[in-house]
């Protein structure tokens, strides 16, 4: 007994073509239905993230001009130029908050990172635009960054386990965490002197 006959209940190519067309129509209907519900991957607006981080009292943003020395350090972490003249950040007491972007495979991933006393207090994926690798937004991944610091060689001081199939997005998150930690140390060091 041939299982395709049991499943499809036809004999011969014309019947199979009808089956194929029916499935195509079904998929088309599915497409129409889901297209109506099209949405982007905005998990939290950056301003909402900042309000949450600073309990509704968001300090005025500060501007960090990217000097030649700072640019060298940024390039060493990111493997490329950020393409901006300065970065905005928000600071209160020992905490600094950064809204940073890095491309996973083809699209920028907008990420909010809070650094407190030289350690990552919080990392959250705010806007994800790639077609794959969205798993990085889940707490099971981002929680790994909690309390991670920076080693002297600007590598993270703890291993971050990746997600299979989301390697490029994971790499982007590691880079942004390193960048936020380095920038936090930079602004504090230059404020003291």
């Amino acid at each position: 007994m041939h299982s395709n006959r049991l499943l499809f209940g036809w004999r011969g190519a014309p019947a199979r073509r009808r089956f194929f067309l029916r499935r195509l129509c079904s998929c088309g209907a599915l497409l129409l239905w889901v297209t109506l519900a099209h949405a982007t991957g905005t998990y939290q607006a950056p301003e909402d993230f900042l309000r949450e981080v600073f309990a509704g009292q968001v300090p005025a943003p500060k501007k960090l001009w990217i000097t030649d020395e700072l640019k060298r350090q940024i390039d060493a972490i990111m493997d490329h130029d950020l393409g901006v003249l300065r970065l905005s950040y928000w600071a209160r007491d020992e905490r600094t908050a950064w809204i940073l972007e890095e491309i996973g495979k083809e699209q920028p991933i907008t990420t909010g990172i809070v650094v407190n006393a030289g350690k990552v207090e919080r990392l959250k994926v705010l806007i994800f635009r790639e077609s794959r690798g969205w798993e990085i937004r889940h707490p099971f991944f981002t929680d790994q960054f909690h309390n991670v610091g920076l080693k002297p060689d600007t590598q993270l001081d703890r291993n971050i386990d990746g997600i299979s199939g989301a390697t490029l997005s994971v790499t982007a998150m590691k880079k942004l965490a390193r960048l936020a930690l380095m920038l936090d140390a930079w602004v504090k060091d230059h404020a003291e002197h």
């Binding site: 395709n4 499943l7 194929f20 497409l31 982007t40 003249l85 997600i163 299979s164």
Partner: protein
Amino acid sequence: MKNVLLVGSGRAALLFAALAVRSGGSHAAEVPTAEQMWAIIQQQQKTIEELKAKLETTEGTVQATRKEVAETGKRVEETDQKVEATVEKVEEAAAKPPAASWVERTHVGGYGELHYNNWENDEAKTEKDEVDFHRFVLYLAHDFNDWIHFYSEIEIEHALVGDDDSGAFNSGQNNKPGEVELEQAYLELDIHENQSLRAGLQLLPVGILNETHEPNTFYGVERNLVETNIIPSTWWEAGLGVHGELLPSAFPGLSYNLLLHSGLQVATTGANAFRVRQGRQKVAEAPAADPAFTGQLKYTGIPGVEVGFTGQYQSDVTSSTLADDNISATLFEGHLIATKGPFGLRALAARWDLDDGPAATGPATGPSDGRDVQWGWYVEPSFRFDAPALLPGEAGVFARYSEHDNNAGDAASVDAQISRWDVGLNYWPHPDVVFKFDYQNEESDIASGNNDGFNLGLGYAFF
């Protein structure tokens, strides 16, 4: 007068003293005369006038300075505003390239791998001492907008594609070894949050390597035998499917992939009859009357862990080659990837079940008997670490044991199972660049013998 005297300057005091001296030391206490007093007053008045003039001049200077400071401050503020506006415009321009620029929405990437094989086959008394640029791949992708994307991948295999020695193309005689293949060309529509519809020529969601096979992502120079002969990687078909997250709130990390697609067309006679690898049509004027369906469930909800299951149904793996019969088939595959710190583990098992078919030509009892069942599995532990001193990057060692059998049916007249050990080393000077070495040792009773030896390779990928 008293007031005038009080405000007298030092110069007036000196004059007074001089007059006193001139009038004689013995008369120093005498009161000055009226003329003397008048002279003193005149001098003091003159001094006062001079001081007033100086004060007025100073006050004027101060006023002018204040005005200049205020104007300078205003200019600084205006300059700040101009700098702010300029920087904002520059940053906006950098962040938002012109919408009409299709270049900004087009992405290029690729990968490649060069292999050196040095094998010996004791049974067949043959050697392989060969260098081959096995794969040179270019990706081209384009974003039509923020939810409609195009992806493509074109590959040159074995470096050279061309006519045979007589100038005839694909004559079957001394053809050049290479192929040019379109491995991906599909449209992807992000139809909902983390839900996408995909239509076109695409890689099938099965196994570990079929969708992710850039050389820097796996151990070993050559791909493993199970995902070559049982899962015929690289395997692509034309189809329409949907993939995305499944119940993200309840099961974060659970995803699905459903695809209706074109099927295989295996040979029904000859040495490769009913071998699935040789049944790939590669969407090249391929018969499409016998569709197939693939579904995959994957769980990546624990960092470093992936568990995947794939099922596939082929309505007729011969694509209607047999006039009186259809040979349907099912493929089941499961795999595990686990990475914790430097430790890694990959394991995979896959099995095909083909309908028996007619006795004269079917996979169970025909000329290639036993191909109604084909299976394989492997397990691959690994350890990755920082490269030794003076070397940048990372290195990793691995061992892999695999078994597979393309003639595993009950009616098989030969034992075609191949067991193989692979051990080796990867060195990544950069995460996207790899150098590889491995040693392979096969065991089997097949007539073509076992290939034992070592391989060297290099690979790269960029996006």
